[in-house]
Symmetry: C2
Subunit: 320 residues, 2 copies
């Protein structure tokens, strides 16, 4: 294997940024060497259907259905179903395409028939030809809830309905105390040689995963290499409200702030080249910095970053 890490890679991810790196990992690792664990704290019921935004972004990305123009949904999808629901009096502030609805209909039907979210996700990803494991963080409901100056908001309400505008005072993960890691997640926590924290929102995507009982401890005590990629580049989030929320919660909107969030669950933090100047400050937080290009636009970018992250883990392993 040369400079690439050996053994199983466990990737923790939220939505778009996480899916980009996960796609890169899936292009260079065989299915048996990668488990992608996805945040379900954003899951919500719309029109009586179970919607899992991050699982769907990951699934659509790895299956090639993803719409790069919007950042959500399926490329070329129509909105016939949503428009008709609106006409029928439903509240349709959350955008859902007609093909996307099929995913939610199918998921809800299978869940109501007794399947777990893990089982449903395995079935949906398999039917779309995805060979790598995409696994929800938990089969029990965990819901990210934001206390804001516009009131208490569920994640999608905050992010979509209120366009991430309200000031966030605190975040909690409802249901986390009663949740367990999904079976696939628990097995990967036990077996992984390398843990990769993808460039997702530390508070809204990664923290809900870490809030599932036993997860933080398992990662903290993990014997292998733990590498994160900073979602904050040049003092701002590459995408989404991570920077705004970090600032509102009093965190440093930089890779240093990210390093502080990941203290105890991460050995190495990949920083973008434009943040080379704060590498020492990251090191001062007890996390080893590694400077590399982290902006992923093309599939080649995603593969290149995935390769660098795995090489970083392998080098760290060799020198450990």
């Amino acid at each position: 294997m040369g400079e690439s890490a050996q053994g199983l890679v466990l990737a923790l991810a939220g939505g778009v940024g996480g899916a980009k790196l996960a796609l890169g990992l899936s292009k260079i690792l065989p299915p048996e060497r990668l488990v992608i664990v996805v945040n379900t704290g954003d899951d919500e019921e719309f029109h009586g259907l179970h919607v899992s935004p991050d699982l769907d972004t990951m699934t659509y990305t790895l299956s090639g259905l993803y719409n790069p123009d919007t950042g959500w949904g399926i490329a070329g999808d129509s909105f016939d179903t949503l428009e008709m629901l609106n006409r029928l009096g439903a509240d349709t502030w959350f955008n859902l395409g007609s093909r996307d609805f099929a995913t939610h209909i199918r998921r809800t039907d299978l869940l109501r028939n007794g399947a777990t979210l893990s089982e449903v996700t395995a079935q949906l990803t398999a039917t779309l030809g995805i060979r790598h494991a995409i696994v929800p963080m938990s089969d029990q409901p965990v819901r990210t809830v934001l206390d804001t100056d516009a009131g208490t908001l569920a994640m999608q309400e905050y992010f979509v309905k209120h366009r991430a505008e309200p000031v966030v005072r605190s975040i909690r993960y409802d249901g986390a105390a009663d949740a367990q890691p999904s079976p696939g997640f628990a097995a990967a926590l036990r077996d992984a040689a390398t843990i990769v924290i993808c460039p997702s929102n530390p508070f809204l995507s990664v923290a809900p995963i870490l809030a599932v009982p036993g997860v933080r401890d398992a990662i903290a005590g993990h014997g292998g290499r733990r590498v994160a990629v900073s979602p904050i580049v040049g003092g701002a989030a590459v995408r989404g409200p991570a920077g705004k929320i970090m600032a509102e919660l009093g965190a440093d909107v930089s890779a240093v702030g990210v390093a502080r969030e990941y203290r105890g669950v991460c050995d190495l933090l990949a920083l973008d080249c434009q943040d080379a100047g704060i590498a020492d400050a990251v090191a001062a937080e007890g996390i080893e910095p590694a400077v590399m290009p982290t902006i992923m636009e093309t599939d080649d970018d995603k593969i290149a970053l995935a390769r660098q992250v795995l090489e970083l883990a392998a080098r760290a392993e060799a020198t450990a």
Copy 2:
């Protein structure tokens, strides 16, 4: 009012044929003078969603959304949702358009939140601008089940999946014993001056309505005029499998056979002009025949037949 009947008109209907006459009635009667009661024996769950084929045909017809080319669904609808469901491994033998799915999603969501089928139907029809009352025959589930040479089949399985090909041996209406007429149906049975049995399948559309406890007795003892329109013209059903099923069940495939089915719940039977020769045979069944053009292609045809049916009831009333 001259030659038109006075008072409330209660129309009993199934799918396409019934919806045509109901549309005609709705064009000449104000909302407070018409209640359209629709068969729900064909209702079925697809993909975890409650589908009410006859209620939807009626709703789409009266709202102008109806697709005249297919006989079901919404004109111009796409099949994005269904195609994606198929890709996700769902069994998609029952055609459902993307906009049509919105109806089933909304209905299911409202039902799961505790609304009755009557309440849901009132809400859906109102949002589509329908001012006349469309009412399910019952808020409890009644399911038309056919015993055939291909096994026991639910109505949609028989009609769509098996294209109405299996030989029907008997028909039952599961759940009918535990059902009640919906509140709107019960009120109309009490208040109607005229009952119109639309040209729907006697066994698959009208019989389930009559099978709801108390309905047959209420119509049998009804003091007003009861007019039916034969769905069998020239020895064959105008549309659908009514003729085939009547033959398989040993009934005469003619207006005479229809008259026999409606004995006790009907005073007058409208026959198409081409069946003028069997008017006497209808009379011999104790039901007064009335010969008129009954084939409805254009909206003008629907209005003309509705007008003739109401005039027939008014004349009968005047001579009673």
